[in-house]
């Protein structure tokens, strides 16, 4: 279409250039244009957190972000968290605590938690709850997710400095409960 806008942004570490209507939402770009379906659509008005992505390091609802708002931005989708040590540890901890049931909200929570723990590794539980305040889950009652967050903090605590890479790497190797550190 003639009124499409050129859009250049970084997605999971790669430069992307695409022409789309200016009001195209990032969540639709991810799902429909780039085949990245970890971001889910459960409200499309910024009220559930299922579509969170990292934009310049902050967790933001990708259903609220229109193309014109992400020009030049650095976007990491839930798929891309594997490239971040904290992201890998967050995933590992949530797996070990079996933090989710249907799992539809899970990628959004991984983004919110990763954003928090990159900034404040030793956040108190109240801060963890505040950081997850925009993520709705209908299956778990959140208790398992909070246990997962606490375990992620423990794992991060044990993995100071360079060790973090190693721990995080070991942490995502298995599908099941491989326990690389602690206990």
């Amino acid at each position: 279409m003639t009124d499409d806008m050129p859009l250049r942004f970084r997605l999971n570490g790669e430069e992307r250039v695409i022409r789309v209507p200016a009001d195209t939402r990032l969540v639709d770009l991810l799902r429909e244009n780039f085949g990245l379906t970890a971001a889910k659509t459960a409200c499309r008005i910024g009220r559930c957190g299922s579509c969170l992505v990292l934009m310049n390091g902050n967790a933001v609802n990708s259903c609220l972000l229109m193309a014109w708002q992400i020009d030049g931005a650095d976007i990491v989708s839930a798929e891309g968290l594997a490239t971040l040590p904290e992201g890998r540890i967050v995933r590992e901890a949530l797996v070990r605590e079996v933090a989710f049931q249907c799992g539809y909200c899970a990628p959004g929570f991984t983004v919110a938690l990763t954003a928090l723990l990159r900034r404040r590794r030793d956040a108190a539980e109240a801060e963890v709850r505040a950081a997850l305040g925009g993520n709705l889950c209908r299956c778990t009652g959140y208790a398992s997710i909070l246990r997962g967050a606490a375990l992620a903090q423990q794992l991060l605590h044990c993995a100071v400095g360079d060790d973090i890479r190693e721990v995080a790497h070991a942490g995502t190797s298995g599908q099941t409960d491989a326990a690389p550190v602690l206990e």
Binding site: D3, P21, A22, D23, T24, T37, A38, K40, T41, A42, R44, I45, G46, R47, C48, G49, S50, L52, M55, N58, A59, V60, C63, L64, M66, W68, Q69, S77, A78, E79, L81, R91, L94, V95, R96, V98, Q101, C102, G103, Y104, C105, A106, P107, T110, R129, A130, A131, L132, G133, G134, R138, C139, T140, G141, Y142, A143, S144, Q175, T176, D177
Partner: protein, 1064 residues
């Protein structure tokens, strides 16, 4: 529902300077919109407001940036994002009240985008009361000039489309002061504002109030400064302030609207109370709140502690396993059926009635069909089979032909090349309606002369149950409690809304892949609608992102199937939340009038219940819910004289049907409240009272039916009696604003579909060529952990490892019909199948191995990974499953199948369950004495349901059910007005957030079964929600003396009972 007409995308203009922005705006004010975070746009568009032609992005304007501390005020650029302000040390240090308020706006992800200017410009923002109380001014660019005016003056002026908020200027509070802020919402956090209130008191050196500023606003409440109340306190000594008078003055002055959720009076009193208690602390609370009842200590711990285990990762050690699908779910790799894409796939949309009750005069699809990119439009004319479906009664049209009965009724469906085209096509379908009177209340639906939703009348079903002589029994009662319990129209709110895809296969069959709860039944219903044989349809129904009963009926399958067949191409469809809310089934709202009496010694002798429940436009499973209600109406108590009636009414209020708990949780709410209230009336401890009235193990069930062994009700009472939470002292908080209370309730819930409904299970085991043991069940993975439970159960029965078992499920082409994944029946089906098949399948494995290895089958046992010598004292395998499978001809590979009836009772006069599970819930709550809001602090769930199959999944089911029950009790209700929902998305429908759930959540399992119990682990899917509501209700009563008979508990009712009313 008004679909947004998505024509051209708006143009985005990015002026370099404020002057340019003002010019651009002046040039086309009516077509433009100034945007920064733009977080409100999607909300507005969802409401059907038109999209502007151009957006003027002001985020990069230097004039709108930065925070600067001046001599007398702080200047905050309007484009500063709320998250930036939250991080700002300057704001935290100089403007703590603003810092506190920021955290109450929306949620962190939204605050990353939303700006302070946007919060103000919308005039409904949650920051406004605080900014008014701080005396903020705003800097405006308008008509080429810059003005500064107070925020309060600006808010009084009419809205202009051509002004730009440039900055906010907030005076620094130099002298001693007190401030407070409170946002009263519909849940603990991330909530629309019911009313926000803020106040500041500037004090002189003697503690006298120099100046006060009070303000309210936010959401529907117009922003306003409360000048008269503020003036009334000026000059007074803070220490001697008459807070009650101030509160009353505030109530008189506040202008706040009523809406269907909260009244004007509630808004005023709650805001005024919050303001004075926030500023005046304990003294103010004592003046505006009534005194609390004396806490009543629980009776002495006289019970034996049952042998329960706390379900945690640490306590269960080796038993704690990680479910096989969790890593993919966490990494976002798991493909749900709504994630599936193919290049040739069309996109579908459904046209909904949008009108609650009307005759269809005509439907014209020609304009839609002519739109380029539209491939097919279907209406009732395209249905070759029966245009009606429903699990109990086939009364719901797949696409309406002559009449619509609720606003979400499906009238037509479109398949097009993309989403935008499909949406545009919907808007081009012209349906002419002749409106009919709307039946919007279940009582009036049954009154004579009511408009008819269906020809046969609005009374869909009426059931009775009676025994003994109730009329005489009342005269023997020493205590009688009567109340009408009202329960909400709860929405399932599964995170993945209904959707999936359909594919016409090259062999002429049709695949329909949509999340569901019983693929074989979906296939049967589709075959009836499409008039094609069942064996030409394949239904894939797993995995799905939550169901809770809401995907038990057909959802989007008929529209998808009709379109795929008409187009001859794959079609996908994923309802957005608004359409899911509009079209989906809800929990039946109920009005339960219950009268219960006991004699002087606390023995229950009479109960009468009159239940009325709404099914909305169609029956779905509501008749079965009604049956379940009548079966659970007395809970686990023996009552000699009973008379119960239940009626189910048709209305135009959406549609209702199955939802976790299925009527039992509502009954448990009513009867458990009744029992505790009678215990109170009789002066007997509620545990002791229950012990006197409990059904005896081995005795018949409530309807008189035989029931399975392993009654654990006494043990559940013992668990409560020994609970640390139950025995925790009921002390208030430091400033006494919160009243603390603890309550408990007992649960006795049937599983399975019941005695009068066909209920069969089936399973199949097959050794695959690669050596894995395929365990196939026609059940669905809806989040509960089906894969883990299949692996755990089959491995335990066979003796192999969990990972040797490959679960196959949710696909009619690959599984037998195991029945529905509902009614907590799945665990039994898997367990019973494993029990039935394992001996034979194990024998086949041993014989095959023996033949290959030239040994005796009796000397070989199944072991993790393969088979080993039963006489050897090592774990070494004789042969692995993989090697065994490789060496067997396909027809020689072990395979076992089973089919069986779910255990039933012989009682058929009504629907009765045979297998029951027991439980008890303890809740500790805090009641906000200023606002009447209730928060659950701690929740403890005791469950007696036999052996725990998978601890993590067990814990998840109970905790998750608890949170759903908490939402039912405190915040969830799909309210209708005139047959139309007032909320259609998660901004208005309030499921609990992480801020709403308890600080501590503990789950205890009692795993043992009676020796003669052959029925194995009970399903636990509905136990977590079962007794949460009455436990919270009892805790509220304990905290403040009010028994909540209406759920979600209206803060208004609580507040009226605990707060001194304002002087007239």
């Amino acid at each position: 529902m008004k679909p947004r007409i998505t024509n051209a995308a708006p143009r985005v203009l990015r002026p370099k300077s404020l002057a340019d922005a003002v010019l651009l705006l002046a040039h086309a004010a009516d077509e433009s919109r100034v945007v920064a975070g733009a977080t409100a746009l999607q909300l507005e568009w969802q409401r059907g407001e038109p999209a502007p032609r151009q957006l003027i992005d002001v985020t990069k304007l230097p004039e709108l940036a930065g925070i600067t501390k001046g001599r007398v005020h702080m200047r905050i650029g309007a484009a500063m994002r709320l998250a930036e302000l939250e991080e700002s040390h300057l704001v935290a240090r100089e403007l703590p009240l603003l810092a506190e308020t920021l955290g109450r706006v929306a949620a962190p992800g939204v605050r990353q985008l939303a700006t302070i200017g946007g919060n103000i410009a919308g005039r409904t923002g949650c920051l406004i009361p605080t900014l008014l109380a701080l005396g903020a001014s705003i800097e405006l660019a308008v008509d080429g000039a810059i003005f500064v005016m107070t925020l309060r003056d600006w808010l009084r002026k009419p809205v202009r489309r051509d002004d730009i908020v440039v900055s906010v200027q907030i005076p620094l509070l130099g002298t001693a002061h007190k401030t407070t802020h409170c946002k009263i919402g519909l849940r603990a956090a991330f909530t629309p504002s019911v009313i926000g209130v803020a106040g500041t008191l500037l004090l002189d050196s003697t503690g006298r109030i120099e100046m006060a500023r009070f303000a309210v606003g936010g959401g529907a409440t117009p922003p306003q400064c409360l000048d008269r109340a503020a003036a009334s306190v000026a000059g007074h000594a803070l220490a001697a302030l008459d807070w009650r008078s101030l509160r009353d003055a505030l109530v008189r002055e506040i202008d706040a609207p009523s809406d269907p959720v909260r009244s004007s009076q509630y808004r005023k009193i709650a805001a005024a109370n919050a303001l004075v208690t926030g500023l005046g602390g304990e003294r103010a609370i004592e003046q505006v709140c009534r005194s609390l009842p004396e806490p009543r200590p629980p009776a002495a711990r006289d019970a034996r502690k049952p042998d329960t285990v706390e379900v945690t990762r640490h306590a269960l050690g080796e038993r704690w396993r990680v479910r096989p699908d969790i890593a993919d779910k966490v990494a976002g790799r798991l493909a749900y059926l709504t994630d599936h894409r193919r290049p040739d796939m069309l996109v579908a949309r459904i046209l909904r009635a949008g009108i609650p009750h009307a005759r269809i005069v005509s439907i014209d699809t020609s304009a839609a069909e002519a739109l380029p990119g539209v491939v097919a439009v279907v209406t009732a004319h395209d249905i070759k089979g029966q245009n009606g479906y429903g699990i109990v009664v086939q009364d719901q049209p797949a696409l309406c032909a002559d009449k619509v009965r609720y606003a979400g009724d499906a009238v037509a469906a479109v398949a097009a090349v993309d989403q935008r085209t499909a949406e545009r096509a919907l808007a081009l379908i012209r349906v002419e309606y002749e409106p009919l009177p709307v039946v919007d209340d279940m009582e009036s639906a049954l009154a004579s002369g009511a408009a008819l939703v269906h020809g046969a009348g609005n009374l869909q079903r009426e059931l009775h149950f009676a025994r003994g002589d109730v009329d005489t029994a009342w005269s023997q009662c020493a205590h009688i409690v009567e109340d009408t319990y009202v329960t909400p129209r709860q929405m399932h709110a599964f995170m993945e809304t209904e959707g999936g895809y359909a594919v016409p296969e090259t062999d002429g069959t049709l695949s329909v892949c949509v999340g569901g709860q019983h693929g074989a039944r979906d296939r049967m219903q589709l075959a009836r609608i499409l008039a094609i044989p069942e064996d030409r349809i394949r239904v894939v129904s797993s995995p799905t992102g939550g169901a809770f009963g809401g995907k038990d009926e057909l959802t989007v399958q008929p529209a998808l199937a009709l379109l795929a067949l008409k187009c001859g191409r794959p079609v996908r469809l994923h309802l957005d939340r608004a359409e899911s809310s509009l079209g989906g089934r809800m929990r039946n709202p109920m009005r339960i009038r219950m009268r219960t009496g006991c004699d002087a010694s606390g023995i229950l002798i009479a109960q009468e219940m009159d239940l009325l429940m709404d099914t909305g436009a169609y029956a779905s499973l509501s008749p079965s819910v009604l049956e379940t209600c009548l079966e659970h109406a007395c809970g686990p108590y023996e009552v000699a004289n009973v008379r119960n009636r239940g009626r189910l009414a048709h209305t135009n209020n959406g549609i209702c049907g199955a939802f976790r708990g299925f009527g039992a949780n509502q009954m448990t709410y009513a009867i458990e409240c009744q029992v505790t209230r009678l215990a109170d009336a009789a002066g007997i401890d509620p545990i002791v009272f229950r012990r006197r009235n409990l059904r005896k193990p081995g005795s018949p069930g409530y309807l008189g039916q035989e029931i399975a062994p392993s009654d654990r009700l006494v043990e559940m009472l013992d668990a409560v009696s020994n609970s640390d939470l139950w025995r925790k002292p009921r002390i208030g908080t430091a400033n006494k604003r919160l009243a603390i209370g603890t309550g408990f309730a007992l649960l006795h819930q049937g599983t399975g579909l019941g005695s009068v409904v066909p209920d069969t299970g089936a399973g199949r085991l097959t050794l695959l060529p690669g050596g894995r043991i395929e365990a196939a069940f026609g059940l669905d993975e809806i989040g509960q952990g089906l894969m883990a439970s299949i692996q755990a159960t089959v491995a335990a029965a066979l003796g192999c490892d969990r990972d040797d078992v490959l679960p196959v499920f949710g696909d009619t082409a690959r599984t037998p019909d195991s029945g529905s994944t509902t009614a907590s029946r799945g665990s039994y089906v898997v367990w019973k199948s494993a029990e039935l098949m394992a001996p034979d399948f194990g024998r086949q494995l041993r014989r095959a191995a023996a033949d290959l290895l030239d040994r005796r089958p009796d000397d070989i046992v199944v072991a993790p990974g393969g088979l080993r010598d039963s006489r050897a004292n090592t774990d070494d395998l004789l042969i692995s499953f993989a090697t065994l499978a490789q060496n067997l001809a396909p027809q020689a590979r072990p395979r076992a199948e089973c089919a069986f009836d779910f255990p039933k009772t012989n009682y058929t006069a009504g629907n009765a369950r045979f297998i029951f599970a027991s439980g008890a819930t303890v809740a500790r709550v805090a009641v906000d004495r200023a606002t009447g809001e209730v928060r659950v602090l701690d929740l403890e769930q005791h469950v007696a349901a036999g052996p725990v199959i998978d601890p993590a999944c067990y814990l998840g089911q109970i905790e998750g059910g608890g949170a759903q029950g908490l939402g039912f009790t405190l915040s969830e209700d799909m309210i209708l007005q005139g047959g139309r929902y007032i909320a259609n998305n998660l901004d208005g429908y309030m499921i609990p957030t992480v801020a709403d759930v308890p600080q501590t959540s503990r789950v205890f399992a009692l795993e043992d079964l009676d020796r003669d119990d052959v029925f194995g682990p009970r399903g636990i899917g509905e136990l977590g929600i079962g007794a949460v509501t009455p436990a919270i209700a009892a805790a509220v009563a304990d905290a403040c003396g009010v028994w909540p008979a209406v759920t979600p508990i209206p803060p208004e009712t609580v507040l009226a009972a605990i707060s001194e009313g304002p002087a007239q």
